[in-house]
Structures are given as structure tokens and as C-alpha cells.
Symmetry: C2
Subunit: 107 residues, 2 copies
Amino acid sequence: MGLTKSFHFDEEQNQLASFAKAFAHPARIAILQQIIKNKTCIVGNLTDILPLSQSTISQHLKELKNIGIIKGEIEGPSICYCIHQQNWHRAKKMLTKLFSEIDRNCC
Amino acid sequence: MGLTKSFHFDEEQNQLASFAKAFAHPARIAILQQIIKNKTCIVGNLTDILPLSQSTISQHLKELKNIGIIKGEIEGPSICYCIHQQNWHRAKKMLTKLFSEIDRNCC
DNA sequence: TTCGTTTATCGTAATATTGCAATAACACAA
DNA sequence: TTGTGTTATTGCAATATTACGATAAACGAA
């Protein structure tokens, strides 16, 4: 059926899965790394750097924005995309929590 | 075309995306949480806990195993699934690195 | 060997994701 | 207003993911 049964899971599990989806594609990793690195954060150069078409990149940006991990503001003729600090921190916190829940396993 | 152009991205970006995929579904989050929590780690009870069929759960386990975030060993009539400590740590390290690469953003 | 329990795989169906070309929309400058 | 440079959206096609029922496979016990 292809439809994730998200309503069966709790808020935290769904939120964490959503955040993880932001990182679940190499192009989005590359985009995020670039946004972080590029302090000027004009996104036009992404089309020069990434091996993807402008429309595909735009789509990934849209997804990252929907997830809430980045935000965009109009800046002259282009758009300034940057990390959504609050949600970035939230994602970090939630993932760190999951990672540290383990102490020792049975095997 | 639906085919991720992974060959265009570097090893680290692909590996990170792959690890993130493990966490990109609430059911897999739930499974991982359960495995961590259940020190006995017999997986049979997952069908009682999760609102998914046995075959679907098995598929998610297979995916987690393929990604390398868990590993399974035969234990009597059932299977003992546990966190793959080394890769778990690797994923943690890689994600932590990405998260801490940010200091201040332009907006 | 046969039965019961447990996990894996197969077949199928529906939705989601990825990607690109073409086009639209927007902002600024002339 | 008209062009120019930029990002967004649309339309399409192909692959991936999610899910389940049915069935197979594996194991221990009887």
C-alpha cells in the first residue's frame, strides 16, 4: 500500500523520522553541508556544485523546508536559504537522545 | 526517474544518507527503541507491540540489517536482533559531526 | 518424522520519491 | 514596460518504499 501508517506511532517517533528523512538522501546532505559552509548562503551556486538540475535541487530545498530543517528568505533576485536553528537543534537533540539510549546490548 | 544518483556523491554523503534512512520511518524508530530497551532482544514480541503485520516488521528488520545498524543471530526458535555497535557508533559520529559543523548562519 | 512456533520470502498493490525538461513566477534594473 | 537573472511549479516517467496476505523455511519438541 505504500502509505506509512504514521498515525499509529507517537509524536516523537514521527517527528524523529521526519527529521531523519531530511538527511536520508545524499543530495540533501550535500545541500545542507553547502548551506552550512556558505555563510553567504545564496543558493544559486548549488546548481554549479551539485550534479543535479535546477528543478531537482529546488525540489530538495522545498522538502528540507517542509521538514523545517531550513528556512528561506527573499534576498534580492535570489533566495537566502539557511538552517532553521531551532529545528536543527531539536533534530540534533532528538537524535542524540536516541543514540545515547543504548548502554549495552545482549549480543 | 526515481533513481538516486548516488554515484555523484562522495562516500561519506552516501553513507550518512544510508544511515539516516534507518531512522527515516517511525516503525523503524520504534523497532530500534524496542531493541535497545529489550535487553533480551527476542523480536517475537514486536508483532505484539507494533501495529504492523509480521511480514512488514520482518521487512523493516531486513532493511535495518542491510543498512548495517542492527545484526541478527539465531537463538533457538527465534532470532536475536541487536544493535550493531560499531556501525551504530559510526552513524552517531557522522551525524554528530554534521550537526556540529554549524556555528552561526547568515540568517 | 511430524507438529507447532517463529521468522523470511514471494506476490501483489498502492503510494512516495527522485529526476528532468519546460514553463511559470518573481524581483530588479534599464 | 521590457528584459535579465533567479527560483518555483508543472507534467511526466521511472524507480523505491510501504504494507499485507499467503506461503515457505527453519528450528525444537514430541
